[in-house]
Symmetry: D3
């Protein structure tokens, strides 16, 4: 009996979309208002989904409290109330688009999970725009 | 790194469920209040999901603004504030159920996407009833 | 101890905004796509709020089941899956805007409540547009 | 044209997480406040998804009204306003975690569906914790 | 400049509606499934709203973190994962309807607020049924 | 027949809470992570509510399209994808707390409304924290 458990979390952060190899004009054309050099920000909503077998002793795939604490330690501590471009090492050389933020979060969480578990990360940049990365 | 990006949109429309090859009695029995000859309507909420590789230059699978504009041009212009049965050619000979509306929307969008991209369409007829079509 | 109890409900309907004393041109200018002669429609979400004293025997201001049944009998039966312009007598001579639909619902419900109870009606035409009428 | 239709439902229930083969101390350590012997409870939100071919006569994969009635008869009647541990036979020897409740619901619904239909059950224990079981 | 700040919180609890002065028959008639002697439960969502003047030094009516901690200490500690009838002293002689739970929460919070602040408590028993108490 | 119409909107922005008359230590103590000198950000959700009499010719208190355009011109153009501290003149000498942002929005909108209309502004800084200002 393989079941997926999902946990919602959120964090707030500032960011700017920018490609340092491009001219200012091209950055403006491609990223528009998201290229604002003074940054803008989002309430990012996050859904972390872990798929695995039910442990018959607990009835859990994984204790939701452990998953909540893992998200807090690995994701919220690193990203919440941060300027992603300036304060998060992974985005020193990576554009902090929703796509890459989801990949970074997936990479932060995966090593802490049981090897038999599958991981999926969904990140809402706004309630109407979101991305999903399954590794 | 294959990622799915999703964009929500919505439109309002009137429709009537009806099979012209059936008697009025059978239409009433199968479609109930949805067969009302004077039409009823919905706020349709739409989620369009596109799966592809991240472009390393932009950090995008696809620019969400382009996807938003595509949905506006191909779906909202065709369906918003319309009577689906009377004003939308695809439903001249197709019952405008949520299932078929999702298929029609998928067919409208797919030709405009990169051939390497997968498309999924989820359509909410009400907040409690929705359908998903992946092609 | 005066408390307000609220109950959510919903109905789907078709409508058209139109002023019969105006030219087609003026109707188009003022009501835009909402003037479509073939109708369009909405999922209307409704919140009915009743304020009164707590009955110490039950702990209720009013039994939520009775309020639910009242909304069903007086509002949903009259409006759900209907064409408001063609099938609802109140809108024969009244434009079915969200404002007037809220007033009509308030008038339908008020006579069935205890005279000591206050009534408020909130009607969502879409998740982003709504109106409130308190009598 | 294989389409998934989804229907949301909900029920309220009391439960307690407990492993009768463990000491009180271990139950407390593993299940925390969820082990409260006086029970606690939830508004469980349920999404039932059925995947199949569109019937060209109706335009439906399955009549949403039939799915709604099936969920009511098989799930809501059995679980709504119940104490899962004391009143639901399946949980006499099964811990009523979200994972196992989803499995029980899947098993209740599957025999009533067309053999060609796939079934997925998503159960929200809270708005931030949910599980999915696909059989 | 008088502004209202609102903070959402939630707790899960079991309860039973019952009037000990009534016969079992009358309790069943009035409270229906909510009278189940084995209890049922809810995810209660809570909105606490405090109205006051903006402090020009902070720009806050009240620090949202302090309000969050106050709700946690006074409401969540007392009610979360509890059986309201058996474990919460206020409901020893008070029926734990949504109305009375809102009044109890208001009474728990008011003494901890600045005397110049107004307090409003909204309690959702389900997403479709909620109550508001303003003192 | 005095009715309130409400329109939802949203904008994304970066900000930092800071009192320039305080020491770094005191700013840290009072504003915590919100004092991050590199800024953080939010998806601000906005509800603008206008109360007035129904115009019998249109059935509107105010055309929702006009209200939408007014919010776009006066609020979204000024605040969306901006750094509130650095780019919005009103916050040069005002701390951009949710409270003061709501007051600023109210002041931007009020002069554009009919004098007989009442205005209320609700601003969500996160889905769980919001403020309301009625002038």
């Amino acid at each position: 009996m393989r079941v997926t458990i999902s946990r919602k979390a959120h964090f707030n952060a500032a960011h700017r979309l920018h490609n340092e190899h491009w001219s200012e004009e091209k950055n403006n054309k491609i990223f528009g208002k998201c290229n604002n050099p003074h940054y803008h920000g989002h309430n990012y909503d996050l859904v972390v989904s872990v798929t695995g077998d039910i442990d018959p002793d607990t009835g859990y795939v994984m204790d939701a409290k452990i998953l909540k604490d893992l998200i807090k330690a690995e994701v919220e501590e690193a990203l919440d109330h941060k300027n992603l471009n300036l304060e998060v090492p992974e985005f020193k050389s990576l554009n902090p688009t929703a796509e890459y933020i989801a990949v970074v979060i997936w990479n932060k969480l995966k090593p802490h999970l049981d090897a038999s578990h599958d991981l999926s990360v969904t990140l809402y940049e706004t309630p109407r725009n979101y991305v999903t990365y399954n590794g």
